[in-house]
Subunit: 238 residues, 2 copies
């Protein structure tokens, strides 16, 4: 196949937190693909990429359902795959955008796997993760020395969460939303709540930050918040 | 204090994996500080920053010993702190460089803490982590869905390592070196070795990549290698 697919991490949302490498690739590509989960949702990744594109770059906003099942690939996923393959066969240079980093919890991972058997030339460009952005924004060191830091989707289930909190010195809880009370209870019982901070829409104009989440009676996180937490030195895993 | 200290993550080593935000700050600062652990070591972070500095930007290479003990601050650390405070009092805009991300296992974290009581205006700029760069370079998804991914310094001790491997779906092992055989044995017994990949000097001209590390009899990693590993689907944590 003549074209190359570039999987590009555009960072967590701040347009300046994109890499020079991503910008240099966006400047030369023919087609940019911005994945969406819903038809009416605005693509933040596309907004970040836009100023770096040439005027004649083709923009494709493809809808990919959030639920992905390798055994039940639905039409949207197969259509997306075929669209990309057709473009690459035409010799086009194609960019597939991802918020954050392409190899961490992204739609791109599925597209990457779907394309792998087709001998496509793929280059993946890493991006700034949302939790690194949150750590810098809050002045919150995520790990030092021999600390183990775990990245945990808050949707992973109570038992799994409990075990992970047990062995980690420091945690990043992603996608905190409806289960906030359970999450805070678990953080409390694992000595992780005192220094915990919850941040929503980090770096956006409507960013919110909550300290002392263990003392707030009625926390209602904005959709998809992140909690950074760490054990006090005396409680660290040995 | 009139000046601002910028803690800048310059990414994992590839000069293009620096953010626009970092570049824009480097263009306007008066002094750049590149920390070193040894006097004769070349600063990769400084090499990455150099093309973005103005000609009259002052460059300070400060030596910070690798071992840090809050209760036994030695002269080098205190000198470094005082140097920065003096510059900020003069109204200078100062950048402190870090490879990778400033809030993950960096010298910057200690300087950040030392300066905190002095009411310094500090802005921290996140960077691309070495493990995100490795994931993209290798086409190795680090986490998807409800996966828990743990970042583990291989120097953390056998018991701590064992517990972390037990409850993680996916792991990043940092600083793998002399204890490589112990690490591989532990990965084997936790169903993490089959898909493991070891990468050294990711993105550098002398990069090395080892697959099938569980079948290599005599692995000798270059100083500070990284291993990416994940459980096969059937062994994942539930």
């Amino acid at each position: 196949m003549k074209g190359t697919l570039y999987g590009i991490g555009v960072g967590p949302g701040d347009p300046e937190l994109i890499t020079l490498k991503a910008v240099n690739i966006l400047k030369k590509i023919d087609v940019v693909i911005a994945p969406r989960t819903q038809k009416n949702e605005k693509s933040t990744a596309l907004n970040i990429a836009m100023p770096h594109l040439r005027q004649n770059t083709e923009i494709l906003e493809l809808v990919f359902p959030m639920v992905y099942d390798e055994n039940q690939l639905n039409e949207a996923w197969l259509d997306g795959k075929n669209t990309i393959l057709n473009l690459l066969e035409q010799g086009k240079q194609v960019a597939f955008l991802t918020l954050g980093d392409p190899m961490l919890y992204s739609t791109y991972i599925y597209i990457f796997r779907l394309l792998a058997p087709h001998r496509v030339d793929i280059q993946t460009i890493p991006g700034i993760t949302s939790f690194c952005a949150a750590g810098s924004r809050l002045g919150y060191p995520l790990a030092e020395g021999n600390d183990i830091v775990s990245i945990i989707p808050a949707t992973c289930g109570q038992d799994k969460l409990a075990r992970a909190l047990d062995y980690s010195d420091s945690v990043v809880l992603m996608k905190v939303y409806r289960n906030i009370n359970e999450v805070v209870d678990q953080l409390k019982s694992h000595h992780l709540s005192e220094q915990a901070v919850m941040i929503s829409k980090c770096g956006h104009p409507d960013e919110t930050i909550h300290y002392q989440i263990d003392r707030s009676a009625d926390l209602k996180p904005v959709y998809l918040s992140t909690i950074l937490a760490k054990k006090s030195l005396s409680k660290q895993v040995e």
